[in-house]
């Protein structure tokens, strides 16, 4: 017997609204479909009405976890449009924040993966250790989530000797804990049994479906914007692109843990070789008519901003492609022939960061089996009518 179950838009495994419609046969998934748009905020349209400075903070709010990724991507694009170049110290601090953000995002992801597999202890420990890097970011930028450290033409805050020492000290702890989690990740049998061999994405399918980031790197494809198209100061940093060949969720865990270790190396290098000098240059308010494609390797994959200017202080067009969107077709492929129990893990393995929109609810009448699509207004009317007809009983209904 086949039946279709909506996973989302409200579901405990999903931290943001998205609808996955699954067709099961028993516990096995036969068909998977994705419906986006529950959280669409019209940012691309809004960006056309705001100045470049204002857009910096708007792009920051595309995502809470990779907020620095979007501002950096936008800021380096606008810097090219304005034909200015950020000073080296500014670029170093920008890269440092980017790598700290990657550390925090990957630790967060490890915890979420543990939680989706019902391994809450792992979740609590990783999130506790993530606080270390969150504290660093807070001290560095003045806030925990939206760092706002970028500005057009550099960064807004300098880093002093005390902070530098503190970050270097905390790194030791983070490296120790990450190595410990690597041991746990491959040793705890209940966890490994859940992630090994689950959510297969072959190299060829991954490439054909344009997957990005750790999702495709876990299928053995070397694709990393930091190496292919170096921005900021990545060209002078020593690091390797981490890949895995197992093509499953375990591989994605391994890639992310390896990337954590690479990030620690980079942070150490950046702090030890921090050049002196100014942190930003003054940016004009207006940009000449031009266009630019800005690419950035966010923790989840490639981030791309296409910015077109028209000579005013506002962009003519801002196109944002967040990495998660690129990974959806691949996710649907991975879900096929999986178990119900694997849905949260497979879906979490792309580290989804959902930014989309909609106002409809799909309702299935259990008796007739027919589907009704209700808009929010209709649903509200329906619920008001229901409670008018069936008032909540005031007297307690004690079952004894």
């Amino acid at each position: 017997m086949e039946f279709t179950v909506p996973i989302g838009p409200q579901h405990p495994a999903l931290k943001e609204p998205i609808s996955l419609r699954m067709t099961f046969e028993g516990e096995v998934i036969k068909k998977a479909d994705v419906r986006l748009g529950y959280n669409h905020r019209g940012m691309e349209k809004l960006a056309e009405e705001k100045t470049f400075i204002q857009n910096l903070y708007l792009t920051e709010r595309i995502c809470g976890i990779c907020s620095h990724s979007h501002t950096t991507c936008f800021a380096q694009g606008v810097e090219k449009l304005m034909e200015i170049e950020a000073p080296r110290r500014g670029l170093y601090i920008r890269t440092l924040t980017a790598e700290l953000e990657r550390v925090h995002s990957h630790l967060l992801w490890l915890g979420v993966a543990g939680h989706e597999a019902g391994f809450d202890t792992f979740f609590m420990y990783t999130w506790r250790d993530r606080e270390v890097v969150m504290d660093i970011l807070e001290a560095l930028s003045g806030n925990r989530v939206h760092y706002s450290i970028n500005t057009i033409g550099g960064v807004r805050r300098d880093i002093d000797e005390v902070q530098r020492k503190k970050i270097l000290d905390s790194l030791g702890l983070l490296i120790k804990r990450t190595n410990y989690y690597t041991g746990i990740g491959v040793n705890e049998p209940t966890f490994v049994a859940r992630i090994a061999g689950v959510g297969k994405l072959t190299r060829e399918t991954g490439i054909a479906l344009c997957a990005v980031g750790p999702t495709i790197r876990a299928s053995g494809v070397v694709q990393d914007v930091r190496k292919d198209d170096p921005y900021a100061v990545y060209a002078e940093l020593p690091f390797d692109v981490c890949t895995a060949d197992s093509c499953d969720v375990l591989g994605r865990v391994v890639v992310r843990v390896k990337e954590l270790l690479e990030s620690y190396k980079m942070i150490e290098y950046l702090l030890k070789n921090l050049p002196a000098g100014p942190i930003s240059v003054k940016a004009p308010r207006k940009a000449k008519e031009n266009e630019v494609v800005s690419r950035y390797e966010a923790p989840r994959g490639e981030n791309m901003h296409y910015i077109k200017s028209n000579g005013s202080d506002k962009p003519e067009r801002l196109k944002v492609r967040a990495p998660t969107l690129a990974n959806y077709p691949a996710t649907l492929e991975m879900l096929k022939e999986g178990f119900i129990a694997d849905i949260p893990l497979i879906f979490a393995a792309i580290d989804p960061c959902i930014c989309c929109a909609e106002r409809t609810v799909q309702m299935v009448d259990a008796r007739s089996g027919e589907e009704k699509i209700l808009t929010l207004a209709e649903l509200r009317r329906y619920s008001i009518d229901y409670y008018k007809k069936n008032p909540i009983r005031k007297e307690a209904e004690w079952p004894f």
Partner: protein, 323 residues
């Protein structure tokens, strides 16, 4: 006098009232331990160190709106929480706590009461299945199917593991088994494999991590409890807590030498031994992640069942050669 004693037994200790208080206390212990294993604080503000938090949660749930879905089988949907609660409350009557005489057969202690307790502990699983099935929600139905699938895995090893100490003691009566091990405490040692198997199976029966598959919230929302709310959910929560007490009491009676010492001694032993079992169960919950339902069945039949058969073999050998 005997009637009064029986009434006390049914309603105060270890019956209704004691169970209500002690099961919420056990939930608090479990939550606090789980939190401390995870380096968190755990419940803190309701009562001293949050000791009243489970009761507060219970009362809060009682006050919530109670929704019965249109498509559900209304009679069953309403009756099942009370039915389940009654079953687990009955089960504790047969634990040899107080008000029994080893030499005489009473209403709460008779040859074969071990089987009755095991049977009464199997019924809640059926209640969960029926609750999920009669909700007619997709997630509940999947949860219900998982409850039964899991039952096939852990039930047989649990029975085998619990029966082996009974065979060694030569009795099907809990009071006599306990008395046997109080007289020969060293004979508890050969049962260690059975104890481990029984603990794992109990964890599965209580549907706690790594076996919280029927209500795995990241997969099937609330599982069997998806449609339950308000008072009915409160009943189910209380039922799970009492099941925890009864299950650990059974393990303590069979594998840890029972509860000697009449009313007060038995009370103290009961608290200490059940808490020890609950500590182990909490540890197991903290140390593992959730596994898949097919993995439960294969794990149970590949490891637990052979281990419990091995335990049976050891017990039979000991009995045949030394006793």
């Amino acid at each position: 006098m005997a009637v009064l004693k029986t009434l006390l037994y049914l309603f105060i200790y270890p019956g209704f009232l004691f169970l209500l208080v002690y099961s919420t206390f056990c939930e608090w212990v479990d939550r606090k331990l789980y939190a401390r294993f995870q380096n968190r604080i755990g419940p803190l503000h309701t009562g001293r160190s949050g000791i009243l938090q489970p009761i507060a949660d219970f009362i809060k749930l009682l006050a919530k709106e109670d929704i019965v879905p249109d498509a559900a089988d209304k009679g069953m949907f309403r009756a099942l929480p009370i039915f389940g609660l009654a079953i687990v409350m009955t089960a504790i009557m047969y634990l040899p706590l107080w008000h029994y005489d080893v030499s005489r057969i009473g209403f709460n202690s008779f040859p074969g009461d071990l089987i009755v307790v095991l049977y009464l502990l199997s019924l809640p699983t059926l209640v969960f299945f029926l609750a999920g099935w009669h909700s007619t929600n997709f997630f509940s139905t999947i949860g219900a199917a998982r409850v039964l699938t899991m039952l096939f895995g852990y039930e047989v090893p649990l029975f085998l593991a619990v029966l082996s100490p009974a065979i060694l003691a030569g009795s099907w009566r809990l009071a006599e088994i306990a008395q046997f091990y109080q007289q020969h405490p060293l004979l508890l040692l050969p049962n260690i494999i059975g104890f481990a198997v029984a603990l794992i199976c109990l964890q599965a029966k209580l549907e706690r991590t790594p076996f919280d598959i029927p209500h795995a919230e990241t997969e099937i929302v609330g599982g069997i409890f998806t449609e339950y709310s308000g008072k009915k959910l409160a009943m189910f929560r209380l039922m799970a807590d009492i099941e925890l007490v009864v299950g650990s009491g059974l393990i303590a009676a069979v594998f840890l030498g029972g509860f000697p010492g009449g009313l007060f001694g038995g009370f103290v032993y009961f608290i200490i031994k059940t808490l020890a079992v609950i500590f182990l169960l909490s540890l197991m919950r903290a140390v593992t992640g959730r596994i898949r339902v097919d993995q439960v069945v294969s794990f149970a039949w590949r490891y637990l069942a052979p281990l419990s058969v091995l335990q049976l073999l050891i017990v039979i050998l000991i009995k045949g050669l030394f006793l």
